[in-house]
Symmetry: C2
Subunit: 349 residues, 2 copies
C-alpha cells in the first residue's frame, strides 16, 4: 500500500543513505556496520531491484528485533591458506557479513591475483550485483553465490530440499559499463505464476511442478508445488553447486539444514556465501581490457534483433542504466518503506 | 557406421590408453603429450560421453594433418601474480593445453589455497568432467569453462554470435563419489531436434528459434535457426560469462573472433579456457568433507521421486557409475573409431 500522498518517495542517493544508516542504527547496528548494509541495499534500489533493496528493512528489522539476527556481531576472518579467507559472520545482518567477505576476498586477490572468501553464520545478503559492481569498480572480476531457504524440489523429487540460490558474475570495464549477471536458478519468480492465476491463464510446463513434483500448466497447482530450475537438471545442478560452495564448503548450513526465516525468525539461519575475486589489473592494461569489453558488447549489440525495436542487450545494462538515471532524477521508494526507515531512525539512541 | 563384425570394440582402460597414445604419436605428438590428450579422452569414454571421447581422434586428426593444430607446440606458462597462470597453448591439441592449464592451476591452488589458469591458443579440449574428476581426486574443487565455435544467437538476436560454451564444476568427496557437473548452455543438443524431425513431432518452443531468432515448435525451422540457452536470458548471460572468462580475459579469441574448425580446419581457432581450483584440504579434514558430502547427497536422494522408479540423483552419478561399470566390463568403442586409432597408430615412426 503506497501512501505517497503523505510521504516523500523520491530521494537522492546521499539522503537515502543517511536516513537508512540512521534506521539500521535505530535497529542496534553501529554506524560503520549500518553503512555497509546500506551500501548494498541502496545500490539494489539504484539498480531498480526494489524487492532486494531498502524494502528489506522490514524483514531484517523484524529479525533484529526478536534477536534472530545479531545487531552487533563479532565478525571474524581467518586465513587457512594465503589466498583463502573464512569469514564467521556471527549471525550478523547479511549484507554486513557480505561486505566483510567481499573485502577479505578483494584483499586476497590484490595480493595473489585471485582470492576467495567463504562466509558462514550469515543471513540474506541482498542481491549479488551490488557486490559485483563494487568489485568491478576496483578492477576485480567476480563469481559470487549464496545459499537460501529451501523452496525448490530436487530434479525428479517432490519436496522442497534446496534453495533458489543466487549466483552472480561481474567483469570490470575500465572505460565503460561492466558486465553484471545476477540470477537465481528458477525459470521464473513465483510472482509471475501468481499473475497468470489472476489473469486466468495457463503457464508453460517448464515453470513449475505441482506438489507431487510433476510438471504443470495450472498456475494454482504450481503455487502449491515447486518452481522449476532453468534447463531442468542443468539448473538443478547449478543450484547444488552454489549450495556446496556457499554452504557445505564454508561450514555453514546447506539444503534442509537452512532454517526458514519466515517459520523461525528468532533462530539463526547460518546461511553461507562465497566470493571469488580475480584481479584483472595484472592481466593487461585498462586500455586493453576496455577495448576488449567494448568490442565484446558491440558484437552482441550488432546482432539484428529478432523483434523490431528490442535490441540485444548485455547482462547488467538495464540495472546500470537505471542507476545512471536514478543518480540524476533521484531514487523512488515505496512510501511504506520510507515510513519504516523513518520509524527505525527515530529509535536511534 | 559400426563394423563390429571385423573389429574388436570392447577394450580395457589400459589397452585403450596404450593404443590411443600410439595413435596420437602417429599424428605427430610426443609420447608424453599424447598421454595427456588420451587421459582426458579415455575418461570421457569411461563416463559414457562417447561423442567427446576417443571419437574426437577423427576431427583432431584431420586438423593435425592439415596443420590447423600444431602437433608439437611450445606451451608456455607465465605467472602475472602468485596464484594466477597464463597458459599459451601455441595452438596445441585442446586436451594437451587443458591438462597443462589444469596442472598449473592445481599447483597455484596447492600453494595459495586457490589458483587460476587462463589458457589461450587452444582448441576443443574435450568434455570438462575428466578435468573436474582429476582435480577432485587430488582434493581440489573446480570451476572450469571453455569458449567454443559460434553456434547460438544472442538473446533477442538473430544470428550466431556466441558459442554453446561448456561450464563445469567439481567437488571432492574423499570417502565417496565427487560432485561433477558438466553442462553446455543450450536447453537441448541439436541431435534431439533432429530426432523430433525424424519422428514428425513438434518441439517445445523453448528449445530453439528459427533463422530470424523467433521461438519455434517446428524442428525443421529450428535446425535452420539457433539453439536456445537454458532459462532464456539467464543461460545467455552464463554463456557470455564463460566466454569472457575463457576468451576475453585469457587474451584468446571470443564470440565471432573464434574461427570455425569445420569451415577453416587449417587455421588456428585460438580458443580459450579457464580453470579455477580450490584446495579443499585446507578447509577441513577428509572425514569432515566426506560426512558433509554424504549427508548432502542423502538429503537429495531421500526426496520422494516424482515418477516411481526414477530416484533423485546427484550430478555426476550417471557418469561415475558408468565409469565404475566399464572399469570392470571394459570400454565399448565404435568400430570406426577403433579402426581410425589403429590406422594412426600404424603411422607411428
Amino acid at each position: 500500500m503506497s501512501e505517497s500522498g503523505q510521504v516523500r518517495t523520491v530521494w537522492t542517493e546521499s539522503e537515502l543513505t543517511a536516513i537508512a544508516i540512521r534506521a539500521f542504527q535505530g535497529l542496534g547496528l553501529t554506524q560503520t556496520d549500518a553503512a555497509d548494509v546500506v551500501r548494498v541495499l541502496v545500490l539494489a534500489d539504484l539498480f531498480g531491484l526494489s524487492t532486494h533493496g531498502l524494502s528489506r528493512v522490514e524483514s531484517y528489522g523484524e529479525r533484529l528485533m526478536v534477536e534472530g539476527i545479531r545487531a552487533q556481531p563479532n565478525i571474524k576472518v581467518e586465513s587457512p591458506a594465503p589466498a583463502l579467507r573464512l569469514v564467521d559472520g556471527d549471525n550478523g545482518v547479511g549484507p554486513l557479513v557480505g561486505m566483510h567477505a567481499l573485502r577479505a576476498a578483494m584483499d586476497a586477490a590484490s595480493q595473489f591475483g585471485i582470492g576467495m572468501a567463504f562466509a558462514r553464520g550469515s543471513n540474506h545478503f541482498g542481491p549479488i550485483s551490488p557486490y559485483s559492481l563494487i568489485a568491478a569498480q576496483e578492477g576485480f572480476a567476480s563469481i559470487i553465490g549464496s545459499n537460501a531457504t529451501t523452496t525448490i524440489a530436487p530434479w525428479g523429487g517432490s519436496d522442497a530440499r534446496l534453495g533458489n540460490s543466487p549466483l552472480g558474475f561481474g567483469v570490470p570495464n575500465p572505460g565503460g559499463q561492466p558486465f553484471l549477471l545476477d540470477m537465481a536458478m528458477s525459470v521464473v519468480a513465483r510472482a509471475k505464476i501468481r499473475n497468470a492465476l489472476k489473469r486466468g491463464e495457463t503457464i508453460p510446463d517448464t515453470w513449475a511442478t505441482d506438489d507431487k513434483g510433476r510438471a504443470t500448466t495450472d498456475p494454482k497447482a504450481a503455487l502449491d508445488g515447486f518452481l522449476q530450475p532453468i534447463g531442468g537438471h542443468k539448473g538443478y545442478g547449478l543450484a547444488l553447486m552454489v549450495d556446496i560452495f556457499a554452504g557445505l564448503l564454508s561450514n555453514a548450513a546447506y539444503l534442509t539444514h537452512v532454517k526458514s526465516w519466515v517459520d523461525a525468525p528468532d533462530e539463526p539461519q547460518n546461511l553461507g556465501h562465497f566470493f571469488i575475486l580475480i584481479n584483472t589489473k595484472v592481466l593487461g592494461s585498462p586500455k586493453w581490457l576496455t577495448e576488449r569489453m567494448m568490442d565484446f558488447a558491440s558484437i552482441l549489440h550488432d546482432s539484428p534483433p529478432a523483434e523490431q525495436g528490442r535490441p540485444v542487450i548485455m547482462p547488467g545494462e538495464i540495472e546500470l542504466n537505471k542507476m545512471a538515471q536514478q543518480q540524476v532524477t533521484g531514487i523512488t521508494l515505496d512510501a511504506a518503506v520510507v515510513k519504516l526507515l523513518q520509524e527505525h531512525a527515530a529509535k536511534r539512541a
